[in-house]
Subunit: 282 residues, 4 copies
């Protein structure tokens, strides 16, 4: 450790540069710009373009080549932070025409349904592609996401969103009324993100590997009770319903407190496992 001195002073970019190459914004990158009012937006950097904000204009050419994590002034002198966006940030700013699965639920779904690198996952419907993006990000590089949607224009949006995020290569989009069933068999996990999942449990069971994971997200208690009724069958087990609440706080050391208002409900998460029926296990 002797050769690596502990930093005891704020490092300037110069010092940083001396010991390691700085990571820089390049043309084509997605960039998150956060202004002094904590408002932020995500843009794709393209030579010759400019970003218009409530606090002034920034030229892309001033951003391209600049190190990530540095501060840039708008034409009115307002300071902006230049950062890579996280998957979390990208999902919150996805172009959308539907309610999306939020990061607070999406991250939990991954762990609960055991989705990771190499998993084969079916999703219906594609919606705006928010969950599709989280699934695609998680199963790379060897896994596969099969995303079904009955409305072509909706899937077109999801597809464009995934392409924009550079995640489309592990996704197969299919236009289909899933009442007709899924093409895949033996998938590890299957997520029904549509208003009437109880109508497609046969099809879901047929696509899942024995013991595989079923998930769904529903906004109303009426929908949950209806799905639970359909899951009260020997073909499904370990049925669980959970809700994830995200409570944001004011991140100020001298006045630390929960925020005044919060998102109080997105939906109920329902999970189950596909079982082999009883007479068959002898």
């Amino acid at each position: 450790m002797a050769e690596k001195p502990v930093c005891s002073q704020p490092r300037s970019a110069a010092e940083w540069r001396s010991e390691k190459p700085l990571s820089r914004a390049r043309a084509g990158d997605l960039a998150l710009l956060m202004g002094p009012d904590r408002r932020w937006q995500i843009v794709r950097l393209e030579p010759g373009q400019s970003v218009h904000t409530h606090r002034g204009v920034l030229a892309h050419d001033d951003l391209i080549g600049r190190p990530w994590g540095s501060q840039v002034a708008s034409h009115t002198g307002q300071p902006f932070l230049l950062l890579t966006p996280s998957l979390h940030d990208l999902i919150l700013r996805l172009r959308r025409t539907t309610q999306i699965v939020y990061p607070k639920e999406a991250g939990y779904i991954l762990l609960k349904m055991n989705i990771g690198p190499g998993s084969r996952v079916v999703e219906a419907g594609s919606g705006s592609g928010a969950l599709t993006a989280v699934l695609a990000h998680a199963v790379r590089p060897d896994g596969r996401v099969y995303s079904y949607e009955v409305r072509p224009e909706m899937q077109q949006l999801a597809r464009r969103n995934l392409e924009r995020l550079g995640l489309a290569d592990v996704v197969e989009f299919k236009i289909r009324d899933i009442a007709e069933g899924f093409d895949e068999v033996n998938v590890d996990a299957l997520f029904l993100d549509l208003p009437n999942p109880w109508d497609y449990l046969e099809q879901a069971h047929a696509a899942l590997v024995n013991g595989g994971y079923l998930g769904s997200l529903l906004p109303t208690a009426n929908q949950v009770t209806r799905l639970l009724e359909a899951l009260e069958s020997p073909r499904w087990g370990l049925v669980e319903v959970e809700e994830i609440l995200l409570r944001p706080y004011k991140a100020v050391s001298a006045r630390f407190r929960p925020e005044d208002r919060m998102v109080a409900h997105t939906g109920f998460l329902i999970f189950a496992r596909a079982l082999l029926i009883e007479e068959s296990t002898g």
Copy 2:
């Protein structure tokens, strides 16, 4: 679609077998066994062994070779479900001597800190290895987790837990007082899971790529205000504090309701981004 008939009847194992090979429990696999009282345990299947439960004994030899998702009777005739455990289940049943990072937080950490296949992540301390496991699972196969711990016996436990889960190959365990700094530079994300993260911000900043993600999980408001104070510096930005609450429900269609009691607090999540200081960005 003509050649794939839609399932309209519960499929027996026989039918399932006819169209796709059943996935079966093998010696060496980790298996989750859930009894009729919804109590469950995780065992590694080994020929000649047996599992003792409150509802009777099951011989591993009766489980090995059986399809996942099927039902097995204990010697007293009680029905058990045989299932693969998810990462979620495995973490909840990890051997531990410390408080662990729970799945509800771990899944959110992944999205918020942009951790996925290929990420390089530092963690301190290793603890019992719960977060290490989630990180390792997410960054495979090409990413890397560097897990620092000052107490050798603790890291020994984390290492054994990761080996048991088959995730140790992407983790480098290091015994180190991180006051001395981290060996890595330009890591994508760094998580401080220890009681005094404010003491190691210099070291964390030195290890992170410019713009990289810092995370921490702290149980008390006092710790949070102290960390926030240390983060109120031009070297850190986008500081956020959040709390994740998981509300479980009774999954019964005719009596759907929140559970009577819940885990009300595990910790506050703190996130920040590593910045280049102002004078350096010109």
Copy 3:
């Protein structure tokens, strides 16, 4: 203000006594005793009796005559605090054979249903008398609580609990199947604390003053949707459903944090107002 010096030192009982008479425990009083482990119990002080706790025995004769708010030692030398119990404390320790309405809901019900001194309130059923006690306490001295119950032995318990609390004088207990209707008309508020309130809305409407307050508390979402369906009528308006969550914290200045576990659900509160039907208001 000159004649009333500001206390700047802790006041001893002697000082306190010099300026104002101390309030003291008397035979017949209900007393709350809190031990060093924060466990507490409520006893009625009777000469010659003694209290047995996990931390030793206290003689009632040692407590009678002692000032409230003082410390008493058990026979093993453990310190106990001697305090008057609040209505909140008394309700939590009520003898009960049923689920009770908790203080977190009861206090809110009072404000939401405009119940205060002088109110005339109907309640069905009596249950163990927890809500009865809160209502009786609030409407004194000139108001009235009419408490209906179909099970005589249950009402006997409620009656004894109210007598023990000295609140029985403003309550009229009635054994009745409320399908037969209530005796009262023009009551200000009516609370249905039973599993099937939708069966008694006619009777409730007949007992309430025009514009009066209906309330109910139900544990399951299924019950709520069924009651809402019955309330979707021109005879009821301003229908609201709310849930009250009480989050307890560790009250330690150096380690302030939410408690690990909490009561996550007691019930959903439903409120409505009794309306005159449309054609009648001309």
Copy 4:
């Protein structure tokens, strides 16, 4: 019961009138008017006046004399409900220049601090009078509320609010810097609704009866830890910190679900009991 038939049809005002006198809006009453969009307002009925809403105009003269709970049409034909406002409604619509204590906390405070008919309660400061109103309503007719405030114009607002609610008769308003102490002794309960309650604990202790109830409401964790530190003294006991969360639901039988957004934080409630110090209890 034979003479009181069970209502089986919606009662018209005519039928209602036949068995009991209808309660009617009179000049001088406060009236709540709820329009078809569930927006509501509270007005005092005065002959010759009119109410202007987003859905048309209502003449007070059309409301005066009309039964409560009936429907009235605005000049554009939009239906409005005419109802008596509850204390809950009145508080939410109080004229205010400060953050107020909300009903969800106020109702709980009453039970926790044992405040009811006959109680003598001190409050500082008066603020906009929201808590003052709840206290005054609860202690009538024989109790007393002593409300201290250092800013005359603020107390003027509180006083006017209490007068408007008809609750001023049980309240004594005092302009005072409470650092000088309170005039009262042996009060049952004392509530510190100001940003630095730790500065006034001596004065509060001097005003309370031995064993009396102290309460406070603070927005930030920093304030709570500071108050807890001051309460960690032999003069105070049974210290508790709690938070009340009110979760509203969509009251629609076919789509029952939590509302999308909620008030996530108003403040932390702190309670304690005034003790006699140790050497004094002999």
